[in-house]
Amino acid sequence: MSDMLDLERWKPASFLPDADARDGSLVFVVATLCFLACLTALAVLASDRAARGWTEQLTGEATVIVRPKANETPDSAAARAAETLAGVPGVAEARALEKEKAEALIAPWLGEETDLSDLPIPRLVAVVLAPENPADSKTMNLALKAQGLDASVDDHSVWMKDIERGASLARWIGMAVFALIATAAGAVVAFATRAGLAARHEVVEVLHLSGAEDAFIARLFQARFARMAAIAGLFGAAGAAIMGALLRLLGGGSGLTPVLPIAWTDLLAVTPAPLAAGLVAAVAARLTAQSIIRGLQ
């Protein structure tokens, strides 16, 4: 027999048996919960990015609806409005949209069959606002009125409020789902600890009667389940990261997931998952083990 084998024989055995048939199931359940939690985190980040993107787009632009007066053609009214707005401080660019573009925008509301040439379609002016000190709708309205134009400015503020409200709601729902999954993971680990203690009742009782302190026994279970949950968390996080990477590769914001634009940096959000799973498991296992050991007194 080699010296190496001899040394191995003298190595003290762990206080708890190394493996249990249920350990595999627990790793699978915790890994699945971590996978779902990480996906939720990625979805929250992506929806937040999407909302910010839309808000930035809307705050940087305004649309002006120009209604021509009797003595003026729609084209000249739109051109005059664009020229007026281009001179307003805080406006970077103002461009009258062609008649076809205005009709294309309104067509979906009236149906393909409608003959738009008979309708007094208002002309639109697309305004790009200066990033710093953008002009507000009131200033633009006053400038248009001063030039005798019948026009109204839509600075998208109504839509922005809706988007902000939606984004905030999505964030809160995401966090609630995340908290729910973390709680479920804790409950699963607590249940597994209880089952683990029941299965190793003989060991716990011998340790207890041999003078082991309650905290000592609880620590054994805490370490066992924390390690198991951390490994499960690693699997779950890796699964979620792979799925996130696939979604990103398949198009990111402009492809498969246009409303959830995932960035490569978002994938870093899954890295704390193994640690978080280990911590949740450690706390759940310790509390459960302590309450059961107290029952032995």
Partner: protein
């Protein structure tokens, strides 16, 4: 060495290792298993607890090794009222008590060596500090050649001797044994009894629960006899 939770001078007030004052015990709402027991065990004494099955022998031992609480009366260990010992200090009290269980309670995932070393590891001792002690103890119980064997591969008598080695490895003040010869043949029973006598000569208080009248008669040690949960006589044999 185990921590002693006794207050200063407690040993002087009550020198008994174990003292029961009018102790009764019941499991849940069942009738009392033990009724109005009063006795004491002096340090270094050797006693048997006898009685028919269900007389309360194991329950009496449980009260001493703090696995059960009395429903009435006071249990004193090493001069200390057990009910007054805080929960956090009870493990240190348990380390002064060695227990040999009827069904051995060896840890199946540990070798014979690791089973014996268990109480020392719980106390925080490092392998280098106890390796020699454990090996000597295994020699004393005749199991040195099986020190790396797993409990499942040991015979009944070997398991019993291993359980005794584990119970005494940290030099407890009192050794309790519940039917230690119940699963072994006559020759092995006498060998085990000799181990207990040797331990007693080294100063350990011994209390053995048994229904083996032959063993009791051969030892000539005093007997606590239980009948229907009551201590009917405290006598010396033969």
């Amino acid at each position: 060495m185990s921590r002693n939770p006794l207050p200063e001078g407690a040993q002087d007030i009550d020198p008994a290792t174990v003292r029961f004052d009018d102790v009764s015990m019941r499991y849940g709402r069942a009738p009392e298993t033990l009724r109005d027991l009063s006795f004491s065990l002096e340090p270094g004494s050797f006693h048997f607890v006898t009685g028919a099955s269900g007389a309360g022998k194991s329950s009496l031992l449980k009260l001493i090794y703090l696995a059960a609480k009395p429903s009435k009366g006071l249990v004193h260990l090493f001069g200390q009222d057990v009910s007054a010992v805080p929960l956090r200090d009870q493990p240190f009290l348990r380390r002064r008590i060695g227990v040999v269980f009827q069904e051995f309670r060896l840890l199946e995932h540990m070798s014979a060596f690791d089973n014996v070393a268990l109480p020392l590891r719980i106390e925080g001792r490092k392998p280098d500090s106890y390796r020699q002690d454990v090996a000597e103890l295994l020699t004393w119980v005749g199991l040195r050649h099986r020190m790396h064997a797993m409990p499942a591969t040991l015979a009944g008598g070997e398991k019993q001797r291993l359980a005794i080695a584990r119970a005494v490895v940290n030099r407890p003040d009192i050794l309790l044994a519940d039917e230690p010869t119940g699963n072994v043949d006559h020759e092995m029973a006498l060998r085990i009894l000799r181990l207990f006598v040797e331990l007693n000569r080294l100063g350990t208080t011994i209390l053995i629960a048994t229904h083996d009248q032959d063993l009791v008669a051969r030892s000539g040690m005093p007997v606590l006899h239980l009948d229907g949960g009551q201590l009917t006589r405290l006598r010396a044999e033969p």
